[in-house]
Symmetry: C2
Subunit: 379 residues, 2 copies
């Protein structure tokens, strides 16, 4: 789907909702990848979508926009003193937004910033809501189109190449420290034309793997020494990130081996539910994302252990996006055809260390499919 086609869908939604002007913002403290989804602009910009079905982009860096962005018009943010209210006021005038018209501000607009919008746009009806444009864009983005699915297949291929290389180089001890492993991934992904890693690679050797997300993300300390090590990484192609976690076990104790097997089984429990749901080609098949998470919670409970984090999440322009496979997720959040998400059970123990096993799953037309080939490597 082109940027123009995506915007058409939003214009349709705006018409239905009676929105005259929709404001989106991607800023340092308020990232919104929908700006990139709708215009291609990779970051730091305001987007104004009008009921007149036109799009105005107000980027921080106009040179960058000239290279990446698609919009009906582009005005530099500096023109408005980098002030969102000034830009919004100008955009409302630019589009001849009717007085009293509904202007929707970004859902994550802070309460004090919202009051400023209301003050500055006093001729209009100013909204800010969770169940508005942000939720609609979340739904749109969660279901990948044919181009996005093709891109994810390519991304998975590159991710899998790196998984294999990491395994090989850890086995033959070319990669010895957490930093070795993390920088190897950085170099390998950029050599494959990736934009970079989707988040700071988490490489936790045995002394640090007890943490869900180790801190710092990697150090000069040993990786894949005796015990359990975790390697959580993703690589980014055209903005879209993969997300996988490998675990490494060197001479695991009996208790550690049990931990590994439980995590492997939990993955199978989750994947089997998903695979079963989407068997055959029924386009209407779906399942509440929460139910998959709850099944894994039950599995762990029976084994007298517990997972301290969610089971998985959609991947896309955000590394974490809908659907959310969590026990506390909205009951209306479903897994549907076209979605790509992680399944990532993990168990952590301050004494034994931790392990996690994570792959990216596509619900394609033919059914569920594990795109990435992450591994628990026993050394």
């Amino acid at each position: 789907m082109s940027f123009v086609e995506r915007r058409e869908k939003i214009y349709d939604w705006m018409a239905k909702e009676g929105i005259s002007l929709l404001i989106l913002e991607d800023a340092e403290h308020n990232r919104d990848k929908s700006v990139r989804y709708l215009t291609g602009q990779p970051g730091d910009a305001l987007v104004f979508l009008s009921a007149t079905r036109k799009c105005l982009l107000v980027p921080w860096d106009v040179n960058m926009a000239a290279l990446h962005a698609n919009a009906d018009d582009v005005l530099p943010y500096a023109k408005f003193d980098l002030n969102a209210n000034h830009a919004a006021k100008a955009a409302a005038a630019y589009f001849k937004t009717p007085y009293g018209g509904r202007i929707e501000t970004p859902a994550r607009t802070s309460y004090p910033a919202f009051l400023k919008y209301v003050e500055n746009l006093s001729d209009y009806d100013v909204l800010c809501r969770n169940e508005g444009a942000r939720a609609e864009l979340e739904r749109l983005r969660a279901v990948k189109d044919a181009d996005e699915i093709r891109l994810y297949r390519l991304l998975a291929e590159k991710t899998n190449e790196i998984i294999d290389l990491v395994e090989k180089n850890v086995v033959d001890k070319t990669l010895k420290t957490e930093t070795d492993v993390a920088l190897f991934i950085e170099a390998e992904c950029r050599a494959r034309s990736c934009e970079g890693t989707g988040f700071q690679t988490l490489a936790a050797g045995p002394t640090r793997s007890f943490g869900i997300h180790c801190f710092p993300s990697y150090t000069a300390g040993a990786f894949a020494d005796k015990g359990l090590s975790i390697l959580d990484f993703g690589i980014v192609l055209q903005g879209y990130s993969s997300d996988v976690t490998m675990s490494f076990a060197r001479a695991p104790s009996k208790a550690q081996e049990r931990q590994l097997q439980l995590v492997e089984k939990a993955f199978a429990v989750a994947y089997n539910i998903v695979a079963e749901t989407f068997k055959g080609k029924k386009p209407e098949a779906k399942i509440p994302a929460r139910d998959v998470a709850l099944a894994v919670d039950d599995f762990f409970k029976k084994e007298k252990c517990a997972m301290p984090h969610g089971l998985g999440h959609g991947v896309g322009l955000d590394v974490h996006e809908a659907p959310y496979l969590r026990r506390n997720a909205d009951a209306h959040g479903h897994i549907e055809r076209g979605m790509i998400f992680t399944i990532e059970p993990g168990l952590y123990d301050p004494a034994q260390g931790g392990c996690r096993y994570e792959n990216d799953i596509l619900i394609g037309e033919e059914g569920a499919e594990i795109l990435t080939k992450s591994k628990i490597v026993r050394l």
Copy 2:
């Protein structure tokens, strides 16, 4: 200053403001380094500070908190289903917050989330404001204490070692691509016990240096080839980041050489104002941060060019924090003794490429001091 001493300052402020309970949150979409500033917890947690001068930490990862955090009590976020409203309600009860008492929520709480707080904390007077705790913490954090200044001297030393190594290795062509340079910095900083880089290193070879912040941050493309290249990086020690920008010019054209010289002169214009202001030991010396930025704008204007970004910013637990040296900054934002901030003039041209020159400045007891030794390297 210890975490306890920092919290004492906030308790004093709360007493003055009549706040019964203060909520801070560091979350994926709403980072707040004040959580780390006040408790040492590096991320993903809620902090509740009570008028009873006690602090409750609610972290996502309790194992991590056991290792890093200082608080009077710690309760796992999972206990509240990772729901900030549930945690806030429990904290208000835990501290026996008086009915009708003022509860201040994070200043960046979104408008819809604020409405939820109000609904869930209906027995209390719930606030969300820009000029509240966030502003107070911003002011506190902007003036570094003796420990923080010592840390920054050490951080500058490590940064300068890396600057020298990068120069040497670019000159002798050991580092040839953007990725080479960026990963060299990653490896060198972690080898020096740093937590990592403060932000994605921006390494822009001549074909990409026209962008203020190149995108992607670094690629497999050539670095320091004929023309202008920019290298913007920072390294992190105990949470605090440095921030420097080197530029490299290989066989610059006359126009490019002029660009370099203007940027060097702009740096001197800014630094001289600051140095003059803080000459001698007058503890009360100060200057509006905006004035320094405006002086540089004037300088560039006279030379018939313009800088498309701010002149500088404070550094600390956030790479960008107060003071803000920008033409559109609040007139009340001053540079004072104890502050550490960048001066980073830059000029960018789609045809010629760009250059930027950035160092970290300390306003110490003896006066202004350039801590880092960034360079414009002519090859």
